[in-house]
Amino acid sequence: MNVHRSIVLAVALAVSLSVLGMRVALAQEAEAPPRLSWSFHGPFGTYDQAQLQRGFKVYREVCSTCHSIKLLAFRNLADPGGPDFTEAQAATVAASFQVTDGPNDKGEMFQRPGKLADYFPPPFPNDQAARAALGGGLPPDMSVLAKARSHEAGFPRFIFDAFTQYQEAGPDYIHAILTGYEEQPPAGFALSPGTQYDKYFPGHAIAMPKPLSDGQVEYTDGTPATVDQYAKDISAFLMWAAEPKLDERKRLGFQVFVYLIVLTGLLYFTKRRVWHDVHHPAVS
């Protein structure tokens, strides 16, 4: 009984502490990004190839003006589990970019059309050039952005997230930022010059101008050309860019689970058999 009482006391203490903490947290943090349903969620989740292709289109026509994606190679576009472009299509994309190569025989650097093995060239030669062109702000590289952003679930939700396999805080956050712009900040919010109000951005003042508007990117497959859809597609594309082996990982994961469950089950029954005589000694 005493043990129970002390456990109850400890739990009560923990709950009151976390309530205390949540009040502190609520005062500072931006609104929690809505959790969307992604095709790549859960144990059997896979990327939606058409969505990745649309997302790539958004990246190419909008984001790539300012954001680099240095760790992505043109060849990756044709990788299994990716946007599922053919190698020829990926090569065409590559050839439409100019990459710097060299030095040549004369010791000079030169420009040439990209090849499959090349990486996406950055829009600016270096960070300083980007800052100079964009009024001081530095757009982050997008290669692993979808894993580098998240929103803390807080207690007790983070515990449930381990069971529901929630790993999409990054794409949820990116989608939220892209759809969270508001023309007018709430009354009393002083917006510093060169920033916009975004209800999901920590601190709300974001230096990136609202990048997407309805109808900006042409979709040929009948998908609605809305900011919300663009935001979903680019977030999915960036998740793939950050975690290109997700399909393979979940597929192998299922095989490993089947194997481990069978193995562990066999070990359990072997254990029972081995220990039988110890637990049920023959009466002499």
Binding site: N2, L17, S143, A148, R249, L260, K271, W275
Partner: protein, 414 residues
């Protein structure tokens, strides 16, 4: 049950080997006929799980090292190239990173078991101290490993933790520069952390040998805390303990696989996917989850030096448990008061872990101070006094009595 039978080589080859290097008889006596108490529960499988995890970490780590570049300009991208271009590199890295977490899950379970059943008491003091040394080595190794991907959290964790040494009076700052190999965390720091991260697991392996050696000198404790006296109190290590350990390693691997394959970044911090940037401090610098209770203790103390001392003391004091605990009864099963205080102690450590992940402000600080106070009061005051005043329950005469003839409800009043 031939608990004390001696290995007799059958083939002439093994006879030849036995006269030159009696390794087969060592294995035979240590891992086959070695007597192990018959009443061990599944808490006793974590030793085997830890050995397994050490092996798994060494194997995945060595392969990762073949592809990793310990240089501030290349480390982050080399880890990403492992994730993208190395065959099953993503698997190796997620196994290694989540494996470190599960290594700590297992070591905490192992420590909880040791404290609950009084496994540190005479004659197992040296065994226990070696265990505390192993835990310290794991803490250092894990920390250095976390620095290697050279993300934002890697860099700032390295900065915060190495800066703790600056709290030492007079020689603090020179020590910190010496650790860094410069005047800030930089390439020399990353290089030496990599070198030590590769070295320390083998030091751990060496101490594990001593730990197992000490264990085999004194024998295993068991849930009753009563020493094995007769042959019927024990069973042979193989097949009994071997199959039980193997089964539970399977269960443990299922948990690990859940994280590796389905939520590989759940235990990590998203900021560590941002390349290290010495010019930009993250909003909240938090260590890996397994250090959070100690981090909370560090921050609960207003003075930096005292905080560092408390942090160190919170681990080192554990080595003195055999002497802080004055009770002659080992197992918490027969110590009702100790059991209650100990369970609260475990809950306090979990609470400290939660507080370590929160920003050090407002109610969190007050709560962390209360829980830190309990941590030390338990170890330094409650434990020594309990042994003197606690009325313990009657112990069974032997292990086999506790297993084979469970006391009747009426006998429990005795």
């Amino acid at each position: 049950m031939s608990a004390h039978s001696i290995y007799k080589p059958q083939s002439s080859l093994m006879q030849w080997l036995e006269r030159r290097l009696p390794i087969a008889s060592l294995v035979y006596s240590s891992f086959i006929v070695y007597p192990t108490p018959r009443n061990l529960n599944y808490w006793w499988t974590f030793g085997g799980i830890l050995t397994f995890m050490l092996g798994a970490q060494v194997v995945t780590g060595i392969v990762l090292a073949m592809h990793y570049t310990p240089h501030v300009d290349f480390a982050f991208n080399s880890v990403e190239s492992i994730m993208r271009d190395v065959n099953y590199g993503w698997l190796l890295r997620y196994l290694h990173a989540n494996g470190a977490s599960f290594f700590f899950v297992a070591v905490y379970a192992h420590i909880v078991r040791g404290m609950y059943y009084g496994s540190y008491k005479d004659p197992r003091e040296v065994l226990w101290i070696l265990g505390v040394i192993l835990f310290l080595l794991m803490v250092v190794t894990g920390f250095m490993g976390y620095v290697l991907p050279w993300g934002q959290m890697s860099f700032w964790a390295a900065t915060v933790i190495t800066n703790l040494f600056s709290a030492i009076p007079w020689v603090g700052d020179p020590i910190v520069s010496w650790l860094w190999g410069g005047y800030a965390v930089g390439n020399p720091t990353l290089n030496r952390f990599y070198s030590l991260h590769y070295l320390l697991p083998f030091v751990i392996a060496g101490v594990v040998v001593l730990h197992i050696w000490a264990l085999h000198m004194v024998g295993q404790n068991n849930p009753t805390g009563v020493e094995a006296k007769a042959e019927k109190d024990t069973v042979a290590f193989t097949p009994y303990a071997t199959i039980k350990d193997a089964f539970f390693i399977g269960v443990f691997c299922l948990f690990l696989a859940w994280f590796v394959f389905y939520i590989p970044n759940y235990l990590g911090h998203s900021d560590n996917y941002i390349p290290a940037n010495p010019g930009q401090t993250p909003t909240h610098i938090v260590p890996e989850w397994y250090y959070l209770p100690f981090y909370a203790i560090l921050r609960a103390i207003p003075s930096k030096l005292l905080g560092v001392i408390a942090l160190l003391a919170s681990i080192v004091l554990l080595a003195f448990l055999p002497w802080l605990d004055t009770s002659r009864v080992r197992s918490a099963k027969y110590r009702p008061l100790y059991r209650q205080f100990l369970i609260v102690f475990f809950l306090v450590v979990i609470g400290l872990g939660y507080l370590g992940s929160r920003p050090p402000e407002g109610g969190y600080v007050i709560a962390a101070r209360i829980l830190t106070a309990y941590y030390f009061v338990f170890l330094l005051i409650i434990l020594p006094l309990l042994g003197l005043f606690e009325t313990t329950k009657p112990l069974p005469n032997s292990i086999s009595e506790s297993v084979l003839a469970p006391p009747q409800p009426s006998a429990a009043k005795v």
